[in-house]
Amino acid sequence: MPRLSYRRALTRALADEMTRDESVFLLGEDIRVAAANVTSGLLKRFGPERVLDTPLSEQAFTSFATGAALAGLRPVLEFQIPSLLFLVFEQIVNHAHKFPLMTGGQCAVPVTYLVPGSGSRTGWAGQHSDHPYSLFAHVGVTTVVPATPADAYGLLVSAIRCDDPVVVFAPAGALDVRADVVDLAPVPLGRGVVRRPGTDVTVVAVGHLVHDALAVADELADQVSVEVFDPRTLYPVDWDGLVGSVSRTGRLVVVDDSNRSCGIAGEIIATVVERVRLLAPPRRVTRPDGAVLPFAPALDRAVQPGRDQLTAAIQLTMKDG
């Protein structure tokens, strides 16, 4: 069975969509030489007209893509650094996202923003280690965080085919994941998946943290039956799928690589408690409030959600009721 890496799954998704649809093209910094090791081989295959290297003008090329989308193309933008999304937040939120409503439905803005290497890459320090997916969920831009190679392929394909802007976060912590992949297929936006069935507690894990949650669930298997739910899309969340899981287990722990205040974990907990009577208070494991990732590796790890914290949160939740 062929083993597929997460990165090559992204490459395959780009190549397949560019083959299928002439209107798809790529735009970004150093993508012709594939500095981020995602667009590898695409320049040779599709030519410079469809693989555009841009100057270091993130705001202009983000809005350039909005304009190209208004004119009927489907741009895919690659951002080498997750923090660049702060720089272009205005262009995405104030223009790409708002145009359909503000124009009364006269247009669509089908742009995909791909961030291969979001979150900590260890040692890249304060300005290269953010994971700002909750910001996009807050403003209502479709946001996906694939955890596996198959989902990286399937969600990127669906993002490119979507008629709205979509941000695709490919966590640095998942880029080296390899998996046996039989069939690559589109994965619908807004549909979560139970990665591991269980009966005592639902652990909602985002992106690369799905793998940590699965490891913790295995470690605790003789004490507690953990169900791991991977929302895959953070806007819109698959609320019915999530509520179904928590209704079965009655307990909820969320592990989320966002800063604590206004992170997606808070929204997940709030929505679940609006709809489900839990057996114990819900818990969340996140980055601290206002976290800036410090450089030294031990400090970097100290502010990211870790397996020990998740284990403790699960055990406390079980103890609470």
Binding site: S63, G67, C107
Partner: protein, 322 residues
């Protein structure tokens, strides 16, 4: 491209009277939120749009009524939009600062200063890549030349030779900030830094604007890259209608009087025989009377559909209630 002085006069007169009727509707409470009047600057939108083809694309600004009307949008649906009616160009979802009519090539007034240049550059690039023979014109004020994203757009358009005309409406003030207090160097000099030809014109003379635009557009259609036109003009009225209630002292009265003495409507009107001018004036009055009646008779949108069109994909947002 039209050389017809009557048609050009009709456009400046239409924009002038549209703005005056809109201000009446602001005062009557029919337009909420106020407007940024284009009074005094009509020659620029009219002159530029007269040199464009129907298929060319434009983007406007928060002071954008002239751009939308100049490119050919229906004044009645434009006014209905300002009044927040469901028959408006944007079905009441955009209002004065976001009026758009993709059907006539207006990709929207854009209320973020300096933001539209890159959007239009991308749109023109994409359409030309598809084989469409068109150019674009993006309007912005003197305040926008200090916005980084507009300067980035200058660079992208020049680098990739995208035929976009960058039209700077230099009315002397960014809200209340005079150009001398905000702009180091010159506006035209910024174009030179990107290798873009720049033309400085009298924005009060619609024909001068039209001719300068026509020359630039001809070079662009022949394969030239983007160009800049800096049109000197004067805003006759407030930055925004809120100033009608709150007097802000930033323009000396003698400067205002001098600025208002060079009126693009009169400059263009003087090129017509009196009878022809009177006929246009009457026609414009009738058009706007009908537009006002249409807007006021139109129903407001249904609040239950407030977020209709939020997602082109058909996604529906969760409601906000408990």
């Amino acid at each position: 491209m039209t050389h017809d002085p009557v048609r050009l006069y009709r456009t400046v007169r239409l924009i002038r009277r549209f703005e005056e009727r809109a201000i009446e509707l602001v005062r009557a409470g029919e337009i909420v939120g106020g407007i940024h009047p284009y009074l005094g600057q009509e020659g620029i939108a009219a002159g530029v749009c007269a040199a464009l083809r129907d298929g060319d694309l434009v983007t406007g600004t928060h002071r954008g009524h002239g751009h939308v009307l100049g490119k050919g949008a229906d004044p009645a649906r434009m006014l209905a939009e300002l009044c927040g009616r469901v028959t408006g160009l944007n079905r009441g979802r955009g209002g004065s600062m976001h009026a758009a009519d993709f059907g006539v090539g207006v990709l929207g007034a854009n209320a973020i200063v300096g933001a539209a240049g890159a959007i239009l550059t991308g749109a023109v690039w994409a359409r030309r890549r598809r084989g469409d023979d068109l150019v674009g014109a993006t309007f912005f004020g003197d305040g926008a030349v200090n916005e980084g994203m507009l300067l980035e757009a200058f660079n992208l358009a020049a680098l990739w030779r995208v035929p976009v005309l960058f039209v700077c409406e230099n009315n002397g003030y960014a809200t209340t900030m005079p150009v001398a207090g905000a702009v180091a160097g010159t506006i035209a000099g910024r174009a030179a830094a990107f290798g873009m030809p720049a033309t400085v014109v009298d924005g009060q003379d619609p024909e001068q604007v039209r001719d300068a635009t026509a020359a630039a557009v001809a070079r662009m259609r022949a394969g030239g890259g983007p160009e800049l036109v800096e049109a000197h003009t004067y805003r006759f009225d407030a930055h925004h209608t809120f100033e009608h209630a709150v007097r802000l002292e930033y323009r000396p009265p003698d400067e205002v009087a001098a600025g208002r003495s060079r009126d693009p409507v009169d400059i263009q009107g003087a090129r017509l025989p009196p009878a022809a001018r009177a006929a246009v004036d009457a026609e414009v009055e009738a058009t706007l009377a009908a537009a006002v009646a249409y807007a006021l008779a139109s129903p407001p949108p249904d609040p239950a559909a407030a977020l209709e069109h939020l997602y082109a994909s058909g996604l529906t947002a969760r409601t906000g209630g408990g």
